[in-house]
């Protein structure tokens, strides 16, 4: 009924977190001086250390969440579960439907948010292994030189 609202809320929070992290990374890379905020600035600062910036990794999560939320919102519109008039969600129009909507949000919605986050954790874990290998390869090359 409105299960996509849970990953939507997570996407909103994570977007704010990503923005704050990117701001911090840019500030650190400029030695405390804040300048124009851009994605590439944060990525550049991380590439000096041979690691992918945390903000970039967080962007992967927000992209996955927003991508899913947009297409699922369309699906809900298709099934008439979202309407363009108040209260916008048909499940919120009467108490009986609201109860089932909340139940769906707490089961399916939470499940969606958890699985997306879990897949992102696995993804970043694999990337972390790649980073370690890259760093090990770089240091080995330095020793040879």
């Amino acid at each position: 009924m409105a299960c996509f609202l849970v990953p939507g809320a997570e996407a909103l929070v994570m977007t704010a977190v990503t923005y704050a992290v990117r701001k911090r990374e840019v500030r650190l890379s400029n030695g405390g001086v804040e300048k124009a905020l851009s994605d590439s600035d944060a990525h550049m600062s991380a590439s000096h250390t041979g690691k992918i910036a945390l903000s970039r990794k967080l962007t992967w999560l927000t992209n996955l969440l927003w991508g899913g939320v947009v297409l699922l919102a369309f699906e809900h519109l298709w099934h008439g579960e979202i309407v363009p008039w108040f209260p916008f969600i048909t499940g919120a129009s009467n108490p009986a439907d609201t109860a089932s909507m909340l139940h769906e949000m707490s089961t399916v919605g939470v499940g969606m948010a958890v699985l997306v986050t879990l897949i992102w954790c696995i993804m970043t874990g694999i990337v972390h292994i790649f980073e370690k290998r890259q760093l090990a390869g770089d240091s080995r090359q330095d020793q040879v030189e």
Binding site: L64, W66, G67, G68, V69, V70, L72, M112, L115
Partner: protein
């Protein structure tokens, strides 16, 4: 059916992204995020429906399948529209900018020619 179509779309877009490389100006990554995000979420939805309805979940009626396929194709169309809009707005290859300026340049040269012919007259 919608989940199946979305997974196919996700796999194809990921393969295209991999084939074109990260420096591609087509921003295929947007499609990958959209389709994978939706596929994961629909998968969870499917699991819960399976728990609720059991094996009958895998035996939908013809009308249900048709409606679901129609939904899946519509979702793919929406994702493609979002993607192409993002490509045209961000214009990573500069093709839109070039096309617009070329048009302006040709318009300017045309008015200059008209002025010259008027002066000659």
């Amino acid at each position: 059916m919608a989940l199946l179509l979305c997974v196919f779309a996700a796999v194809i877009s990921t393969a295209l992204w991999y084939a074109h490389g990260e420096n591609s100006t087509m921003k295929i990554g947007i499609l990958c995020w959209l389709f994978w995000g939706a596929s994961i979420m629909w998968f969870v939805d499917a699991v819960f429906e399976y728990i609720q309805f059991g094996a009958s979940y895998f035996k939908p009626s013809g009308a249900e399948m048709l409606n679901d396929a129609f939904l899946g194709l519509s979702v793919i169309a929406l994702a493609l529209v979002i993607w192409i809009a993002a490509v045209l707005i961000t214009d990573p290859s500069g093709a839109v900018k070039r096309a617009l300026f070329r048009q302006n340049d040709s318009e300017n040269s045309r008015t200059e020619k008209e002025k010259k012919t008027e002066n000659l007259k």
